[in-house]
Amino acid sequence: MYGLKREAIQEGLQPRRLPVAVLAQEFYHMVRRRGRNSEFSLVLRMALRSNPFILLGMIRTGWKLFRKSAICLAQR
């Protein structure tokens, strides 16, 4: 299955801005750069590259999480 998904992403067969593929790519780059990933910046980058408007919908949840210090802006 991953083989097919990999091929689809490489060949650009998936719809443009499909978040699934964007997420995979952003995840990959983040781990390559830093070894670990941070959920906050991962989601932010994914959204910016696929459909920035969904960020609006996330504000509410994000704020709750931030208040509970379940996410933080910098990597720990």
Partner: protein, 300 residues
């Protein structure tokens, strides 16, 4: 005292912070030593696998090799995704000689030992096998003051590997919680998918999956859902507000980690269990866990 290497994974340093806190508190109460792997890295998860398979195996293999180097070969990975990815790497390295050779060569180049003898463990299975339901029962310090819970195992710890529990009808979390005096309900959806990262990428589908899970739990009269995975917990927890808005049905269930529930019953410091980090069900949480401190003392 049994000693374990601890692989937190990225989630436990983010949305899953409560999992890490409660896990450490619970292991402390049980007298199990958990040593964090030095300089661990991301397991790669499924996303990395979708871009570059070869390096994906190396990412996890590096962590396992670190455990070997640290001479503490039982690697406890609390996040279901981390557990599965690490376990898969270990399996594939043996099953497919090409992957094994690739991994072996790269580890050797980085002056890291091979993966021999490293075991990937999930804390649920550690508690079930190394501690046991009987011992948990003996160690109960506080009564469970909450309602019955639905044990939700998710997909990754039971498939395709069966070391944590059976794939179709896992029961070990139920057994442990029952031994600790926590009532559980028969929950048919215990291994259905929570949507994983779909809540972020294909939002509607992800929320729909969580809706089904919550609806069935409520129908079976569960008053909370207990999970073993940071992503499952996050999805079920964070989706409830949106489901309320979308359907008009009232959902406000606490979504707990099994380590939180057991930690509470076994007498860990409630402050250290991260209850306050939950988004939904805070009312129940306050009722069940916060005011009980004095009563618990009386009970002991």
């Amino acid at each position: 005292m049994s000693a374990y290497s601890y692989f937190p994974g990225c989630s436990l340093r983010g949305t899953g912070a409560a999992y890490e806190e409660s896990l450490l508190a619970l292991f402390h109460v049980l007298g199990l030593s958990l040593t964090e792997l030095e300089d661990w890295n991301c397991c790669g998860a499924t996303s990395y696998m979708s871009i570059d398979e070869g390096s994906a195996f190396l990412l996890s293999a590096r962590n396992l090799a670190l455990a070997h180097k640290a001479k503490c070969r039982d690697v406890v990975a609390p996040c279901s995704a981390c557990y599965l990815v690490l376990r898969k790497t270990q399996d594939y390295a043996v099953r497919y000689p090409a992957i094994g050779a690739h991994v072996g060569k790269s580890l050797a180049a980085a002056n890291l030992p091979a993966l021999d003898g490293v075991r990937v463990r999930h804390p649920l299975e550690v508690l079930y096998n190394d501690v046991g339901a009987d011992r948990i029962h003996q160690l109960v310090k506080r009564p469970w003051r909450g309602g019955p819970v639905a044990c939700y195992y998710g997909c990754q710890i039971v498939r395709p590997y069966h070391e944590v529990d059976r794939d179709c009808n896992p029961t070990r979390m139920d057994e442990l919680l029952n031994a600790a005096g926590v009532p559980t309900v028969e929950y048919a959806l215990k291994t259905k998918c929570c949507g994983g990262s779909l809540t972020g990428t294909m939002h509607e589908i992800g929320v729909r999956l969580n809706y089904v899970l919550l609806k069935e739990a409520v129908r079976k009269r569960a008053q909370a859902i207990v999970t073993v995975c940071p992503l499952c917990q996050y999805n079920l927890d964070a989706c409830q507000a949106e489901i309320r808005r979308g359907t008009g049905e009232r959902y406000d269930l606490p979504i707990l980690y099994f380590t939180q529930a057991l930690g509470w019953v076994l007498g860990a410091d409630p402050e250290a269990l991260g209850f306050s980090r939950s988004i939904s069900g805070q009312k129940s949480i306050r009722q069940w866990f916060s005011t009980a401190t004095e009563e618990a003392k009386a009970y002991v």
